[in-house]
Amino acid sequence: MAPAQSIDGDLFARIRDRVAIVGIGLVPFAKDIGRPISDTAIEAIELALADAGLEGEDVDGMSMFEMERTHEVTIARGLGVRNLRWWDKISYGGGASCATVMHAAAAVATGLAEVVVCHRARNRGSAASRPWAQERERVEDDKALHVPWGLIRPVDVIGMWAHRHMHEYGTRREHFGNVAIAARKHANMNPLAMMNGRPLDMETYLAGRVIGYPLTLYDCCLETDGALACVVTSIERARDLRQKPVLVHAVAQASGPNPVHLANYNNTPEMVTTAVFCAEQLWARSEIGPRDIDCAQIYDAFTPLVISGLEDYGFCKRGEGGPFTEGGRLELGGELPTLTSGGGLSEAYVHGFNLILEAVRQVRGTSTAQVEDCRNVLVTGASGVATSAMVVRGE
C-alpha cells in the first residue's frame, strides 16, 4: 500500500493549485434545443476556448461523459484540433462531472496533454429521451437487481435513501423544501436559468404532486437540453491567458465498496452513498477542509442528495443535514450558499456540468449570485452512483 500512497501523493501535489480552469462556455439551455449534441458540444467548447483566449489549434486533450457517446474525433475536427494526444470518456452519468476535470488535470500534470477541453452536451428535455422510459425486455447485469421490480426511475432509487433518512434522523419534507427554495432563489437571480422568473415558496413546495413518495415534483431536477464546456491547462500556461485562473486544488473519484450501478443499499450501517468514500479521498488530498469552503455546488438531481451531500462532505454530522438547511443557511447571505446558479433543480439539469461552471464564476467573482470574497468552492458529482468531486479556488 505504501508505494501507491506515495505515487498518489506525488500526482496530487502536482495537480494541487498547479492546474487551472481557464475558460468556460455554454449554449443557452432549452427544453428542446433542436440541434444534435455533437453540434452543440462544439459550440460550447468554442465559447470556452474564446473565453480563455485560446483556439481549437491549441487543444490536444479532451475529456467527456461516456453516457451519450459523441465521438471525440468529430468534435476535434469541428474545433480544428491539429492532433488529439489524449482523450477520455467517463462513466456513471452525473457521477462523471468533476471526474472530467480530474482526469484532465491528471493529464496536464503528467504531460499527457497541455490544453484539455472538458464538456457535457445533453439533450434530455423531451420525455421520450429519458433512459428509464426506454427500458425494454431484457435487463442485464446490475440493473437486473432492481429494475424487474419497477425500481428504475432515479427519483425512486434516491427516494429509498431519502425515506430512510427521514425515519432514522427525523429529516422532514420542509428540509428538502429548503434546498429547492434556495436553488430557486438563486435561479431567480440568474437570467439563463430555466426557472428564472418562477419563484417558489414553502406552501407551493409542500403542495407539489407526488412523483414517488416521499419525493414530489419540486424535489426533482429539471430535464434540460444544454451544452457546457471548460478548458483545463497548467498554471504556467494559464498566466498568459485572458481570465483569472481558477485553480484545481483537489480532485477525487470513488465507487465505495460492493457497488451496484445505481441502487446500492448494502453499505452499512447508515446506508450511506458513494459520496462518503469520495469525500474521504478529496479531503485527504486537500490542504483545506469543509470549514474553508465559501460556497458549495452539491449535486442536486433530487433535493435529498444535497442534504446527504452536506453530511457526506463534512459540513455537518450524519443526520444533521436536514436542520443544516434551516434559517436560509444555503441561500446567498447564509453560512454556506449552495447551488448559486440554481443548480440542476432550477437552472438546468445537465449532469452537474453547470455546477462546475458556477464554481468557476464564483471564484472569478462573476456569478449572478456572487458570494462575497469567495475563494474556495466545492463541486460534487452525483452520489448513489460511482462519483467524483473537486475543490477549486482563487490564487
Binding site: 425486455e137 435487463v139 437486473a144 421490480w149 425515506h163 430512510r164 404532486r209 407526488v210 414517488g212
Partner: protein, 152 residues
C-alpha cells in the same frame, strides 16, 4: 401458506432480467423453484448480496437458502409518470427489505396498501411468476393472525 401471484397478462415491454448470466443464474433458477437463495461464504458463514462470481477468493461462495423473512428497511410509493409495464400496479410499493440474515434486497410488495407500510414492518417472501423462465421474489406483510385463518 406462501402467496404465489401468477402474471396472466405480461406487458410486452416488461423489463425481464437476464436469468442466464453465470453469476446470477443460480439465484433465478432457485426463484423458479420458489426458493430464495443467496451466496454464503463457506468459511465465515457471511451472506453476500449482490452476487459475486462463484470463483471469488478461490471459490469460497456457495448458494444457500434464506428464511424468506425480513423487515422493511425503506420504501417508496411510485406514482405517474411510470414505466407502462408497471402502471397497473400504481401506487407501486417498492421496498428495500432487510433480510433476517443481514443483506438488503430490492423488491416490491403484493397485496398491500400504502397505509399498511411502516419502517421495520415484518415481511415474508411471496412469489410472482412472470413467465416460465422468470419468477420474482416479492414481499407481503407477515401477518400471523391471517396466516392462521388462511390455513383453517
Amino acid at each position: 401458506m406462501t402467496t404465489i401471484v401468477r402474471e396472466t397478462n405480461l406487458h410486452p415491454d416488461y423489463p425481464l432480467p437476464a436469468v442466464d448470466h453465470p453469476v446470477t443464474a443460480p439465484f433465478w433458477r432457485a426463484c423458479r423453484e420458489q426458493r430464495l437463495m443467496l451466496q454464503r461464504d463457506r468459511e465465515s458463514g457471511a451472506w453476500h448480496w449482490p452476487p459475486k462470481p462463484g470463483r471469488w477468493k478461490g471459490g469460497r461462495l456457495t448458494w444457500a437458502e434464506v428464511s424468506g423473512h425480513g423487515r422493511i428497511h425503506t420504501w417508496v410509493v411510485g406514482a405517474e409518470p411510470f414505466l407502462p409495464a408497471f402502471r397497473e400496479l400504481l401506487p407501486h410499493l417498492m421496498v428495500v427489505v432487510q433480510l433476517d440474515e443481514g443483506p438488503r434486497m430490492v423488491g416490491h410488495m403484493v397485496g398491500t396498501k400504502p397505509e399498511e407500510m411502516r419502517f421495520d414492518l415484518p415481511v415474508r417472501i411471496a412469489w410472482k411468476v412472470l413467465n416460465e423462465s422468470v419468477t420474482l421474489p416479492v414481499w407481503e406483510p407477515d401477518r400471523p393472525a391471517e396466516r392462521v385463518s388462511a390455513t383453517t
